[in-house]
């Protein structure tokens, strides 16, 4: 069994009186595709936001690669190697697709103001490398022909791909996808599935929030189910699928 990459320890979060997360503990192993499912409002996105530093948990915390994650510091989470996409796509709408991915390289590059003003060789080389890498990533998600288009003018499916490319540009060890298949048709979902499969084969661990149970069960090595903010079960898909509590949660029985 491979080592644990991310561990959530009794993470709790409430909004006013609503307990969005109740002491959720789970662990994601290096190299796996880990699915997080649950009915609407079960707390999946809240969990994501706590993990990536957008929310401060009210209790518990995360350990990433053996070191605790600092709460309320999304930029540090990204620097440590956690990248994410958003349920309702958040691209830099008026920047080109290429520029969007180039921004993703920010955290792995270091040119400062002085370098930019003086256009030093180091800065120029780095800039060329950023551009090259961004083009490669666009190619990887197969939208390289849209490189010079503004992000907002891309089709819905391409926007999803672009967001993944931007996340990959930060060289994540853990890629978190928040409902990437939402609103996609059958063909698009199949393509997305291939893409995620490819990313996993290239060695990136993936955390997948998804509504499409079929996609999750077919793609994930292990699955966790949240209901009313609490963890119901964490196991391989075959076991989860047959679990009575999961069936109840989904049927609302």
């Amino acid at each position: 069994m491979s080592k644990v990459l991310l561990e959530a320890r009794a993470v709790a979060k409430h909004f006013g009186g609503v307990k969005a997360l109740r002491d959720v503990s789970l662990s994601i192993r290096e190299g796996e595709v880990y699915g997080l499912i649950g009915p609407n409002g079960a707390g999946k996105t809240t969990f994501f936001n706590c993990m990536t530093g957008l929310y401060v948990p009210d209790g518990g915390g995360f350990v990433f690669d053996g070191q605790p994650l600092v709460a309320d510091a999304p930029d540090q989470a990204a620097a440590r190697g956690i990248a994410r996409t958003f349920q309702n796509i958040r691209l830099f709408a008026n920047m080109t697709a290429l520029e969007n991915v180039m921004v993703g390289r920010h955290v792995r590059t270091k040119a400062g103001v002085l370098g930019a003003m003086l256009q030093t060789k180091a800065t120029r080389d780095e800039e060329a490398a950023i551009r090259q890498r961004a083009m490669d990533l666009l190619h990887y998600v197969r939208i390289e022909d849209r490189a010079e288009d503004l992000a907002k003018n891309l089709s819905y499916g391409d926007q999803r791909r672009l967001e993944i490319a931007r996340a990959l540009a930060t060289e994540p060890r853990l890629l978190c996808l928040d409902e990437p298949a939402a609103g996609m048709n059958g063909t698009e979902t199949a393509e997305l599935r291939d893409l995620i499969d490819g990313i996993r084969r290239d060695g990136t661990t993936i955390l997948l929030i998804e509504h499409d149970v079929k996609l999750v069960m077919g793609l994930c090595d292990r699955v966790a189910v949240l209901d009313y903010g609490a963890l119901v079960i964490e196991d391989v898909p075959a076991v989860v699928q047959k679990d009575q509590r999961v069936i109840e949660a989904y049927l609302g029985a």
């Binding site: 930029d75 931007r166 930060t170």
Partner: protein, 353 residues
């Protein structure tokens, strides 16, 4: 860079260069006053491009920009005038002025940059007023700023043995003080244009734009938004400080009156009216808004006499009235500015459709 070298741009640059060199001599035909107006236009180009980094690139609404200009101006005034009997050279004072302005920017920015846009606007506005009030009142008990009277007899810019005030004859050509300052200011303006261009297409420039577009997404890809914003703030402030120093030296006199809120607003208006974030637009805005009130000064009085045979209303208020109306009308018919960047123009067109 390579794009610049194609024949058409080369021709354009040559044309602009010739125009820039000829301009102060053409203006001098109308009197040195026009050369001074030209000087100020270019000083405002410099200031507006400095503010453009803050407002246009990073999207931070700064209504107290003039405070940094004031810091630079007073730094020069105090370190190069008989007021304290100190007469330091330019290569010492200009960096000090820029540095002090930069520190002021960081001090103001670090606690306030997390504020929402319009709150930041009012906080910076308040800061600008605080600086001005201190300059007005720091003449007692220790006379630091000489209060509302301001500081006079400030040293002009001196580089080596070359003095920028008074007439100089070079190669048989007599240059007036304002004409010499003109060339200094043009050099500075070109420098700040290059810096703006380079920053815009850099890792930092992209980070600024990303923050402007979607701050949360920017954080999620690992941009330390607070530091990157602070960087824009500090850079803008430093440019303000440099401009202030040159202003003090050129005028030979500073007083708090030059650093009112109205000045901050004017510079912001230059940036927005020209086309926020778009460098040629900002330059256009700065030149127009600094020359227009002066042109009106010379135009409004005679126009009234010609039309009505007498001065019906105070020409000073009429000129400001026309100026205010011009702001309103431009914004009405060109909401993205006179010369917006192509993307912004498209953005607006789509919104309407």
């Amino acid at each position: 860079m390579k794009k610049w070298l194609n024949p058409r741009s080369a021709f354009g640059i040559a044309l602009i260069s010739v125009a820039l060199v000829a301009l102060p001599f053409v203006a001098a035909m109308g009197g040195q006053a026009w050369v001074r107006i030209l000087d100020f236009a270019i000083l405002y180009v410099f200031l507006a491009l400095g503010l453009n980094i803050v407002v246009g690139f990073a999207g931070l609404l700064d209504l107290g920009y003039i405070a940094f200009y004031a810091v630079g101006a007073y730094a020069w005034a105090l370190l190069a005038s008989p007021h304290f009997g100190i007469h330091w050279p330019i290569w010492a004072i200009l960096p000090i002025g820029a540095g002090l302005a930069c520190i002021a920017g960081v001090l103001l920015g670090s606690p306030t940059l997390k504020l929402r846009g319009d709150y930041l606007a009012i906080v910076t506005l308040g800061f600008g007023e605080i600086v001005r009030i201190f300059m007005n009142n720091l003449n007692a008990p220790i006379n630091v700023t000489n209060g509302p009277q301001g500081i006079t007899l400030i040293d002009p810019v001196m580089i080596g043995g070359f003095k920028f005030s008074g007439n100089t004859t070079l190669f048989g050509l007599t240059l007036s003080g304002p004409q010499k300052y003109y060339f200094l200011l043009v050099a500075l303006a070109i420098l700040v244009i290059i810096i703006n261009l380079r920053l815009q297409n850099s890792r930092i420039g992209r980070a600024w734009q990303a923050i402007r577009e979607d701050e949360i997404a920017a954080k999620a890809v690992g941009i330390n938004t607070r530091n990157i914003k602070l960087l824009a703030f500090a850079m803008g402030a430093s440019f303000g400080g440099i401009a202030g120093g040159v202003f003090a030296a050129m005028q030979g006199f500073v007083s708090p009156e030059s650093f009112s809120l109205m000045e901050s607003i004017m510079i912001l208006a230059m940036v927005v009216l020209g086309g926020m974030g778009h460098i040629p637009g900002v330059i256009l805005g700065a030149v127009l808004l600094s020359v227009l009130p002066e042109a009106l000064r010379y135009g409004v009085g005679p126009a009234q006499t010609a039309l009505f045979g007498k001065q019906l209303v105070d020409p000073e208020s009429l000129r400001m009235l026309v100026f205010g109306l011009a702001l309103v009308l431009v914004m009405r018919f060109k909401p993205a500015g006179l010369w917006p960047s192509p993307e912004r123009k498209r953005e607006l067109a789509e919104k309407k459709a």
